[in-house]
Subunit: 294 residues, 2 copies
């Protein structure tokens, strides 16, 4: 199977499983919340995080099917964070993945509840995982909670809010990024290892480095795209960082240095897997993200 | 120990454990989120749900200490739901437990994130429970997820939003209430049983009935207090239901019938425990809630 075929197959499985997890015909007057949740969760997107979960599970010799609930849980957490980030009191965004944001398509209260619903569904979905030991499932829930929590993604979001309209030092931007986007990417790698029930400590350490390096590369690339990208292709508002006077990697380091950094970090991510047997997919995945800049 | 002494002891343990779970000195610029979360979580309140968790664990002969993480998790979920309910796009409330609501004391974005943080912390806290089998911990996480999710509390919240400014039939109000407030109260009873690792099916069934009856009694009492209560004593805005043209149990059934119903439901809750040995605390707890109406 080529990289592209494997990626498509993974995305297909993830989207079917997500759709299944988020479907319910209640007939009891609150179906609207399921509509809103599916509107945001089934809007496409790269599915990068859940793809990484499956890929690390495969790399460790595990059964991807068993990792699927954690892949979905992580994507639900990512999606909820986008819905809440887009709210008027946060980034106040109208466009996400080429469509009106959740609070625009529905209403603000529904968007708050849809985010809450997805976050809760993430833990429900993880806790319902089958075919693994209860210890493994608990370990995965702990990984999810830590990554998504106040010392993880939410802490990063708080720093992000505090970073508007002022110039922040590179070190602070680095912390902000590692919490806001890095934690979930690292969790994706850790979840794949944990769900395989076959990863040793060296493998987990390598996976964490892959996640951290790729997470940072990915964020810098996003900052570059916000300057150079095209709203139609990206499906989201661009030039937003400059408008909000946000410190970004390009504003602090310049575009050229940023491009070099992305390449360097991607190489480092790929290098971390040097000892692993079947690393072709995760290698290509890392380079495909950089490739999108060219 | 008298009922009042036991209640005070339980509340003391719960508040210490909550405070511990939600404390962190980051020194990294995002302490504000911990302040906001503690502002809302440590604002007093009856601690009814976590008290019930401990009481059912005790009733089943379990070690309350082991149930404490689930008691805290449930209180965090309850608190997050209040923070998000109070937001301008939802109930738009300024006062909660006699103090400015979270978005008033901080700001709207912080309140959204504080709610998200508490919901995530609830699952982190539950998943970190010690001294129980991994199966039991997972079972408790499933109880929490189901009760708080879109087919539980969040579904009820959606129905509640849809029920403003129109008269709804009693049956719909009953469903709304059973989801919005009933699910968490029932979960409190179930969590206590599960964390004891000693409850048989009959005990669990009795606990569920206690939770359902008491939950409904509690909601009807709240509706009555919204009409007859005093803002200073209750620490929240009163007359809100009438202002929002909300269908309530009193508006559909009349005050007198509601008072009788509360008494009847409380008796039924207490009756469900007829077969249990040391039911004095849970019996007094149920009647103390009704007592507040007199």
């Amino acid at each position: 199977m080529t990289f592209a075929e494997q990626l498509q197959a993974d995305i297909g499985r993830i989207e079917s499983a997500l759709e299944r997890s988020l479907s319910r015909e209640t007939g009891e007057g609150y179906d609207r919340i399921f509509e809103a949740v599916k509107y945001s969760a089934m809007a496409g997107g790269k599915r990068l995080r859940p793809v990484i979960v499956l890929a690390f599970c495969r790399l460790c010799g595990g059964d991807e099917e068993k990792a699927l609930p954690f892949a979905c849980a992580l994507e639900m957490i990512h999606t909820y964070s986008l819905i809440h980030d887009d709210l008027p009191c946060m980034d106040n965004d109208d466009l996400r993945r080429g469509r009106p944001t959740c609070h625009r398509a529905f209403d603000e209260a529904t968007a708050v509840l849809a985010g809450d619903g997805l976050l809760t569904a993430a833990f429900e979905t993880a806790a319902a995982a089958e075919g693994l030991s209860a210890q493994t499932v608990l370990q995965c829930i702990r990984i999810l909670g830590r990554a998504a929590g106040m010392n993880g993604m939410i802490g990063g979001q708080v720093l992000d809010m505090g970073a508007e309209h002022r110039r922040i030092p590179l070190e602070e931007l680095r912390l902000l990024q590692s919490l806001k986007t890095g934690c979930l990417l690292r969790a994706a790698c850790e979840l794949g290892c944990a769900a395989s029930e076959k990863a040793d400590a060296a493998m987990v350490a390598a996976a964490q480095i892959y996640g951290e390096k790729l997470g940072l590369a990915f964020q810098i690339r996003d900052d570059i795209l916000d300057i150079e990208g095209d709203a139609a292709t990206l499906g989201k508002t661009i030039g937003k960082d400059e408008k909000n006077e946000k410190s970004t990697f390009p504003s602090l380091l310049g575009l050229e240095k940023c491009r070099a950094l992305v390449a360097e970090l991607t190489d480092a991510a790929v290098q971390s897997l040097a000892g692993a047997a079947d690393k072709a997919f995760l290698t290509e995945l890392a380079y495909s993200l950089v490739g999108r800049m060219n």
